[in-house]
Point group: C2
Chain length 427, copies 2
């Protein structure tokens, strides 16, 4: 069985060397020998550890169009030319394994359709949460259940940073510098800290969990750049930890799904709270199965290669058995909904004048806008007071209206912050 | 597509009612309508909620031999007649979904072989860790990786009991009575507290994780009946928690696998330590993927039904697509090995005379038998002292020899307890 690899970076090299080291094992697992016949890289003259130089080519288009390939593994990343190459591979009859979250979150429906029409497999387990088997359980194991909500920590860089801010009482800038020094964050960390990486993964998760089509453009996205040391210690005092969450949740009428990425307060007793450092975890709530969590390494060459090779063996087995896996069907008549329809709990920090009547006016403002208060805590600050209000479940629309009204309320100096609260079981 | 159900108990009723409530959804997920055509129960005259009475029969042998069944779901439990009925269902061309851990742990190879020869699917996700998708990830997602070790909390009853003993400083008898009152433990709790339930699941996990054949008879098994309040508080003082673990581990020469069930000390910082109450979790260490954990509800009607229905949809999709899943291949030339070849860390409690030279003699005894000491703690007791010795990694054989030698050593009153220690990363 002939395998071609697009991309010779960290993941590509790992895949190539594991594939060649475990030839006999892969034959036993797949039913047939897997032979790496070509690796497309940018510079074919550079020596790459683990990849025989005669396999290197700088012409990926010619490689995928050979016509005799069984499986193409794409680990080059980016939208183009990855999309064109995958479509060409599919057209030429190959099954495809990809780790490309940006591509799947943008053109997933097109690629799924193309693979289906051509009768080949398209697998992308490595695109979300690295080595953690997540997409296959969502596609298959939970196929007889109804997922209600998914809460994921799917970006290792930001989880590492938030963990250090919490553990070392450090500032955002300090932990970012440390993360960059240790290689956990890139020189330009925008995709991680801005939330786009998590948003792509959230779109893929939502598509599979809710049997629909969600793209990255449907995902509400806030990163962690505005999270301060003060936010983290305020959360700690209330028994919470701040995590960057990818949330995909069915609306109350079960007719839509809201997908959002933002920092959220999570109770310290919640299983997600103990997911530290660069680890990833995805917490799933399903109607019959109840609560589940999948935990593991979300990134890195070897973990990502493990997921890619799992997909590769699955594709090879199918090919050997002249079959293919059931495609994820977007059969559910539920589409993406705007953030305004999200329903969750909130922590609202309000700086107020320290005089009688202000709390009453604030409480009335929440009530008038349909938001029910669960708890209020007042701390003295320099020239006034700071109220920490925690709400019961409310819609994002009602909460926005509340904040608008608070901003112009007499006695309110400033709405200092709004943080969503997830993973609280009692309402 | 015609589905028959063997067993109308808690799980069976859930499966029947979910199947009938979600008819349209199942059709969309499977590609075709799923019709429940018969339910075999002991007493067909009894009314069962969620099961139309005209579907009930007390003749399971006739039901599975109808000849027009597509899928048979077995949730009756026990070895016979479940084994005979499944073999008959397979012979008559039906795919089989079972939740029967005892059967799979005893006759798994025979049933897998029969299904393979007949060209049908045999799925049993619900047999281990209830709703947690575990077997499919082991079979498929990790197919390109090499599993080194699996540590599982796979019995909810004992985990509930050990959690309460730890949290409430209660005795074994107290928590057993409480668990029985709450329905977490059966009137005869032997299968849970004696470890047999965990051992069956360990055999199934080891078979899939290591691509071999392990039966329940190959599993070393110690239950929790000897765990005392004192053991739990001694563990707590050392920063550990006691869990009943199912451990499946490759031997050092990578030529065998040792599978064992016993109480073990786990560091409080390990992800398994925070698995409380009746929850289950399985921690997997793989060569490339690193550490992973799967967490969720291990038992109960709805969670088990969720896993059964996931398998049912997978079997239906395959049938609709005229294909079937790759069978788990026992291709690896590694077989089960005796407990003597296990390698782990130990905590050994020794009651000694409080006089000079005893510690030196004990340390020499450990060293002479090839066991390296990591830490020693001495507590005064009534008429002597109690030593808590924690070792580095040693073989079970060497540890046994050490204990034998300690028992006859001058100055040693009693070897009060030996507990294995798992989940410590530094050696």
């Amino acid at each position: 069985m002939k395998v071609a690899l697009l991309g010779g970076g960290v993941v590509g090299s790992q895949v190539a060397s594991l594939l060649q080291a475990g030839t006999a094992d892969f034959a036993a697992r797949s039913g047939e020998q897997l032979e790496l016949v070509g690796v497309a890289v940018r510079d074919a003259s550079r020596v790459r550890p683990g990849i025989p130089s005669e396999l290197l080519t700088d012409d990926p288009a010619a490689l995928v169009a050979r016509g005799d390939l069984d499986i193409v593994v794409e680990v080059m990343g980016g939208i183009e030319p990855a999309r064109e190459l995958i479509l060409s591979a599919i057209k030429h009859g190959a099954s495809v394994v990809t780790a490309n979250k940006a591509l799947m979150a943008t053109h997933g429906a097109e690629l799924t359709e193309a693979a289906d029409n051509a009768g080949v497999d398209l697998f992308y387990e490595a695109s979300v949460a690295g080595a953690i088997p997540l997409l296959r359980p969502l596609r298959e194991s939970l196929a007889g259940d109804k997922v209600r909500r998914v809460l994921g920590i799917v970006n290792g860089t930001t989880n590492y940073m938030l963990t250090k801010m919490d553990e070392q009482d450090a500032s955002y800038d300090e932990v970012l510098a440390e993360a960059q020094r240790l290689g956990y964050a890139e020189a330009d960390p925008t995709a991680d800290v801005g939330g786009a990486d998590s948003a792509a993964k959230a779109a893929i998760i939502a598509t599979l969990a809710f049997h629909t089509n969600v793209t990255i453009d449907d995902v509400y996205c806030e990163g962690i750049t505005a999270v301060t040391k003060a936010d983290i210690s305020a959360a700690r005092e209330m028994g919470f930890v701040i995590k960057l969450l990818a949330v995909a949740e069915m609306t109350q009428d079960e007719a839509g799904v809201v997908v959002r990425v933002h920092p959220a307060m999570v109770p310290r007793t919640h299983p997600l709270a103990s997911v530290r450092d660069a680890f990833n975890a995805v917490f799933v709530e399903a109607e019959s199965a109840g609560e589940m969590m999948f935990y593991g390494r979300g990134a890195g060459g070897a973990p990502t290669a493990s997921a890619v090779l799992g997909d590769l063996v699955a594709a090879a087995r199918n090919r050997f058995g002249q079959t293919r896996s059931h495609r994820p069907e977007p059969y559910a008549a539920i589409g993406p909904r705007p953030i305004a329809q999200a329903r969750t709990r909130y922590a609202v920090a309000i700086e107020v004048e320290d005089r009688p009547g202000v709390l009453a006016a604030i409480a009335t403002t929440f009530a008038d806008n349909g938001v029910s208060i669960q708890a209020v805590r007042q701390d003295g600050v320099d020239d006034g007071a700071r109220l920490n209000v925690r709400t019961h479940v409310a819609t994002e629309a009602n909460l926005s209206d509340t904040v608008e009204a608070l901003r112009v309320l007499d006695g309110v100096n400033r709405v200092a912050g709004v943080t969503r609260v997830e993973g609280v079981t009692a309402s």
